[in-house]
């Protein structure tokens, strides 16, 4: 375990009766963009604060480059944080803010100047060097906070919901910028967020956290397509859930019988047995909605359900349909890859077919 870059080893943290982090173990690779994703209060910030040295775990250890850093104070570990509110020093200029850690390290004056000037250039803030934090916009403060934490090249950069305080447009811009900065500096980033979009677009790997434990740790695509639990499936993106029992298996496939819905065929990658209770997640974009039944060449094994359109939300890029099928209200996305006005549109109360291939649903075992 000691040859891995950053390791959380059975870490637990309690606040009174609340267990914020419950026996969590994982490791992060050098240079990785690693995200801790979860709803507020799930323990992700506590994990970050323990790595920063602001909280001490009740049990378990944290290793950085093989060295036990669990008991070290924040100033004794080469780990810097970009705080959610930026925490720029209001009595110092931007230049002095960024030079703070270098001056503490007692670097020669010339070297400090070079490093600060270089990073100011990287974040394109050279002309604002002598301003004070309250003279900057939110996005500029954000960039300065990142530069301040990166300038002495820490081993890990911790980012605590760094984009939460920015408006949507700026957030999207900063997302790209963060990605570029990460590529440029090659430092390990540990990113805490409750926004699955941010985590998906930036991360090499994501740890999805719920109630103080890791529900799943995987790459973004794996987490989206093959969620490890019902929680992960519902937290990352939209999905349709069908809960039921496996009533038949047939090779790699099985038949699920949900309550209030006809039988569904699904790919049985886990080789679950008959009688197992499962949650089947089918993402809206995997579900097709057509006025005509699906073409016969799709095969006899696909799931087809005659249904009625209830709601339509046109989004330009795609249309979202809410479709009444048996007792269920199914969400489906239809992307528009052809010129829409030439097509015969689906409207409210149309009788339609919803269908999807058994391979396109993903099954997780239901918690008993």
């Amino acid at each position: 375990m000691s040859n891995e870059f950053l390791v959380f080893d059975h870490v637990t943290k309690r606040f009174g009766a609340l267990t914020a982090v419950n026996d969590v173990s994982f490791s992060v690779n050098k240079g990785e963009f690693f995200s801790l994703l979860g709803p507020s209060g799930c323990g992700k910030t506590t994990l970050l604060r323990m790595l920063g040295g602001f909280e001490k775990p009740d049990s378990g250890r944290i290793f950085l480059e093989g060295k036990d850093i669990t008991g070290l104070a924040p100033n004794e570990r080469r780990v810097h944080t970009v705080f959610q509110n930026y925490a720029l020093f209001p009595t110092m200029t931007i230049w002095d803010n960024i030079a703070f850690s270098l001056r503490l390290a007692k670097l020669p004056k010339k070297e400090i100047e070079e490093k600060v000037d270089a990073i100011l250039e990287m974040i394109q803030m050279s002309e604002h060097a002598w301003k004070y934090p309250n003279q900057l916009s939110g996005g500029q403060k954000q960039r300065v906070a990142i530069a301040r934490a990166l300038v002495d090249r820490p081993k890990v950069l911790l980012l605590d919901e760094p984009l939460a305080a920015l408006d949507l447009k700026l957030r999207q811009h900063m997302l790209l910028e963060l990605d570029t900065i990460h590529d440029q500096v090659g430092i390990t980033f540990m990113y805490v967020t409750h926004d699955q979009g941010e985590a998906m677009s930036l991360s090499d790997r994501i740890a999805v956290i719920n109630r103080g434990t890791i529900e799943q740790l995987d790459g973004p695509a794996k987490i989206y397509e093959a969620p490890a639990s019902r929680f992960v499936a519902s937290f990352i993106g939209d999905t349709n859930f069908f809960s039921g029992e496996i009533v038949a298996t047939e090779g790699d496939y099985c038949t699920i019988r949900p309550e209030g819905f006809p039988d569904i065929r699904a790919y049985n990658d886990k080789q679950l047995k008959v009688g197992q209770k499962v949650d089947l997640s089918v993402r809206p974009e995997k579900i097709r909605v057509t006025l005509a039944p699906p073409p016969p060449e799709k095969g006899a094994s696909i799931n087809v359900y005659p249904s009625t359109v209830q709601d339509i939300v046109y989004q330009g890029v795609y249309t979202k349909y809410w479709i009444k099928s048996s007792d269920f209200r199914i969400a489906a996305l239809k992307p528009h890859s052809r010129f829409l006005l030439d097509q015969e549109p689906i409207t409210w109360n149309d009788k339609v077919f919803v269908w999807w291939h058994p391979d396109d649903g993903y099954m997780v075992e239901a918690k008993q």
Binding site: A87, L88, F100, A105, W130
Partner: protein, 304 residues
């Protein structure tokens, strides 16, 4: 929208009462005091004819020492008050709301008792046969048992006691607004606790510190009850001399002259330091401008 003229008039209306107050209770009395110094005095305690006699008589060889002692003791009292007030204010600001109210309330509590009564209580506590003196004797390393009462120590001690709340309150008000996550950020970037406290917290509550210094130093300079009751003959301050001249000798012009000398001796160093600060700020700005220019030339160099 409002015309500039109307805004100007509105500004006048809003500030006029405070101007009036300042003029009536500060400027006018100050001018009267200054005017008195250019008068003689008569036996009955009144103010005499225009004359420079008061200034000529102001030659008591004790005065320079007394003025120096007054300034020195006031500075000491101010330093002690600030040194004690900063950790107090820091601690209160970090408490939860309930405890803050309780502690801040208890700091203000002594004000419900008369100031003179409190100073008198100290006189009792510092009595040569009292327990404080006993503790002092016990702890005295030199073995010399000097009495606290009727000494400079007593004056400084009780002055700090009296003025401490005036130091704590403005610092606490500033500390309460201080964003303590900044200290975390400083620690995160490698600063030790004390460094973060010195470089981030103290500059962050600068306004509070300045008010606290003024709130303690000004009353300390004019202090007269405390040295009168606790300083005995060993610690006579300018306040006592002014009192003596005005009430016992019934020489109002002389007392006015002393007050003027005192005010000038305080204002000169303050004026000098302000001038120095201004010069320093200007140099800083020039340095910053030069550095910005350097940055830009560096940027252009990189662009080529």
């Amino acid at each position: 929208m409002n015309s500039p003229l109307r805004t100007r008039r509105a500004e006048w209306l809003v500030t006029a009462p405070s101007f009036l107050w300042l003029a009536l209770f500060f400027a006018v009395p100050a001018v009267i005091v200054l005017a008195f110094t250019f008068h003689g005095h008569d036996i009955s305690g009144g103010v005499g004819e225009w004359s420079l006699s008061t200034w000529r008589e102001l030659v008591d060889p004790d005065y320079p020492t007394i003025i120096w002692n007054t300034i020195r003791i006031s500075v000491e009292v101010t330093i002690w008050s600030i040194v004690l007030a900063v950790p107090c204010a820091y601690a209160i600001a970090r408490m939860n709301k309930r405890w803050r109210a309780i502690v801040a309330g208890s700091i203000m509590l002594p004000f419900w008792t008369s100031f003179v009564v409190r100073v008198f209580a100290w006189k009792t506590m510092l009595h040569p046969d009292g327990w404080l003196q006993a503790c002092y004797n016990f702890l005295s390393i030199s073995g010399e048992h000097s009495t606290i009462l009727d000494s400079e120590t007593a004056v400084v001690l009780v002055s700090v006691y009296s003025f401490l709340p005036f130091a704590i309150m403005p610092i606490y008000t500033a500390a309460e607004k201080f964003d303590f996550s900044l200290l975390e950020a400083a620690r995160d970037l490698g600063a030790k606790n004390f460094y973060a406290f010195r470089k981030i917290f103290l500059p962050g509550i600068r306004q509070g510190l300045v008010s606290a210094v003024l709130m303690v130093f000004i009353p300390a300079i004019g202090s007269y009850v405390i040295p009168q009751m606790l300083g005995g003959t060993n610690c006579v301050l300018i306040g006592n001399k002014i009192f003596m001249r005005a009430i016992q000798n019934r020489n109002i012009p002389h007392a006015s002259a002393l007050a003027t000398v005192m005010a000038v001796s305080v204002l000169i160093p303050i004026g000098l330091s302000m001038w120095w600060k201004k010069r320093q700020d200007m140099r800083d700005r020039q340095r910053l401008e030069a550095q910005t220019a350097r940055l830009f030339t560096a940027g252009e160099g990189a662009a080529k």
